[in-house]
Symmetry: C2
Subunit: 334 residues, 2 copies
DNA sequence: CTGAAAGCGCTAACAA
DNA sequence: TTGTTAGCGCTTTCAG
């Protein structure tokens, strides 16, 4: 079960140098003669030597691998959100040659921080103590997509309130007054803030958001379907709908078209995310774009700087989402 | 940048025992007196001690973490396939308290096997040498969803030929003769085998699969859309379509309904995967189910047994996919 | 049931 | 430019 054990010593013996020299070659330390370097490289190649990472980490006293902690609630993996983060963090780690240690958490299992240099928390759901304890251990932490100001921790988040606001603003500018929304999971900050920004703008314009136009969803297609059906059965159906995710918007589109209504002529619909799936289906979806992939990549770079000590101060980055106009919204006709 | 350093020694000091005893407590070695165990546990809790994983691994000479290597071609993360594997492997590792080291590979970057106990390769695309070299290093390897008999390596795969066959059989049993298919990426074994099984069955029944009914896709919605459009424009459109993934099937459904045709009355369609998304949309999708999540979980268990030496022999597991009948296929009417 | 001591494979002063 | 040596924090014989 242990791996074959070709150690730095074997390499040193074959190259007829000290292990220090081998170590220098491994670590690209310049002060090695051309001749010795060549010999060492030959030996490494010949023996198919790979340094023992555990030994390196132990000796160095630090560890540059990155932990990614993903909340494990049902359905999260079917969200564009989760996939983009995994993809972004994964690619960034690969290109920086950092090990990515992936965890799915239920919020309770404590994380042994000793085998990662830092941790990226993808959203915060029921696992604040986890974060607190990681911070207490002195591990650099970074939270994605949640403003967590009370913990004094690094975060990169999108301004979801502004996102909700932009959606409302756009629909309003098109002349809509009867505007409904399918929210995300309101236990997530994203869900709650999008609704908040959305509602606030409407209120400023003197538009009411009655209960019947407010469907509390959870980002799932199931909810979106139920919501859309409910809206359409209303005596006064909305003329526009804001869905807190593209997935939900797409499902609403399907329901609406099943009923024989047209988009955007009869109903306008706007999503959130800028999921590539927006481009497919019967109508290209207008949406609010949030740079998930980039956030994920940036997180790795930032955390990496924190781990290596290149960056010392707490970073709090807020990105602004933007409107992407496609075909699913049109002027209000009624 | 290094973590705070509370070591086993600090714990020993506080508990007034030797570090050996502390080690025993950490590792649940039974031969520790109740009294000492309690003292050590108190000290561990008080000091918030976490064993240094790198030191443990170095001392033990092995490492029970699991590497998951995912091919990095564009679009893979938008597949149900990839997500299910990540989810399944992730959950299994979490429940076995194994570290999961996640890699996205382009096939070239060699993998340093020294920091994982074993590796799961999620499919094999252009990275056979990687696998070979991991095997050569003595690292237990397991391949998901590819029969790779020439490498004498462990695998868990679904029988894709049978899957394709089941699809053809079902459509044929419904009376269809004009059957088209949208294939997956034919560079993947899954894509190629599904087509092969599908074609073979048809041939056995004396049914031809003309070029016009064969669209070489890549699992993307884009392809599916193009394929469906092409089929519908044919002078003699097919009465049934087999799509090599549910995603593609779903997109085809959308296209077909956009044209005003009904499913399954005008065209039957069957997918592959049993993606939960099958249940949504205008018509519940009939599909071929493959147990991706379970395969992923099983992979972890199997690999773990291989790593710890509990299992010695090569395992080659072939799972059979099964038909899931829902609403998208009906009898041939023409 | 307990502890002393010898490494695990590597890095990083320090000396040469 | 090189090599010697002392650890990094833990596990694991081996005595006691």
């Amino acid at each position: 079960m242990p791996n074959k054990k070709i150690s730095i010593e074997d390499v040193a013996r074959r190259a007829k140098v000290s292990i220090t020299t081998v170590s220098r070659v491994i670590n690209n330390v310049p002060t090695v003669s051309k001749k010795n370097r060549a010999r060492v490289e030959e030996a490494i190649a010949h023996l198919k030597f790979n340094p023992n990472v555990s030994a390196q980490r132990l000796a160095r006293g630090y560890n540059n691998s990155i932990g990614l902690v993903m909340p494990g609630y049902p359905g999260i993996f079917y969200s564009f959100y989760a996939v983009e983060l995994i993809r972004g963090v994964g690619h960034a780690c690969e290109s920086k040659r950092l090990d990515l240690v992936f965890h799915i958490t239920n919020g309770n299992n404590p994380i042994n921080t000793s085998n990662v240099g830092g941790i990226i928390f993808a959203d915060v759901i029921e696992n604040k103590k986890q974060i607190e304890s990681a911070i207490a251990m002195g591990t650099p932490c970074l939270i994605i997509n949640n403003k967590v100001d009370d913990l004094n921790v690094n975060y990169i988040a999108v301004d979801n309130k502004v996102g909700g606001r932009i959606a409302a603003d756009y629909l309003f500018s098109l002349g809509h007054k009867k505007i409904a929304t399918i929210t995300g999971n309101l236990n997530t900050q994203a869900g709650a803030y999008r609704l908040e920004g959305f509602k606030k703008f409407l209120k400023e314009k003197g538009i009411d958001l009655p209960e019947k136009y407010l469907y509390r969803g959870d980002y799932s297609r199931r909810c979106a379907r139920a919501a859309a059906q409910a809206f359409l059965e209303l005596p006064e159906p909305p003329t526009a709908i804001f869905a807190a995710s593209d997935e939900m918007a797409l499902e609403a589109v399907t329901v609406i078209m099943e009923k024989g209504l047209r988009i955007p002529e009869d109903i306008s619909i706007i999503g959130f995310d800028d999921n590539p799936a927006c481009l497919f289906g019967p109508v290209a979806l207008t949406t609010i774009k949030q740079p998930l992939f980039k956030m994920a990549e940036d997180s790795v770079h930032l955390l990496s700087a924190l781990i290596t000590g290149k960056s010392k101060t707490k970073k709090k980055v807020i990105l602004t989402p933007e409107l992407v106009v496609r075909e699913s919204c049109g002027p209000c006709r009624s």
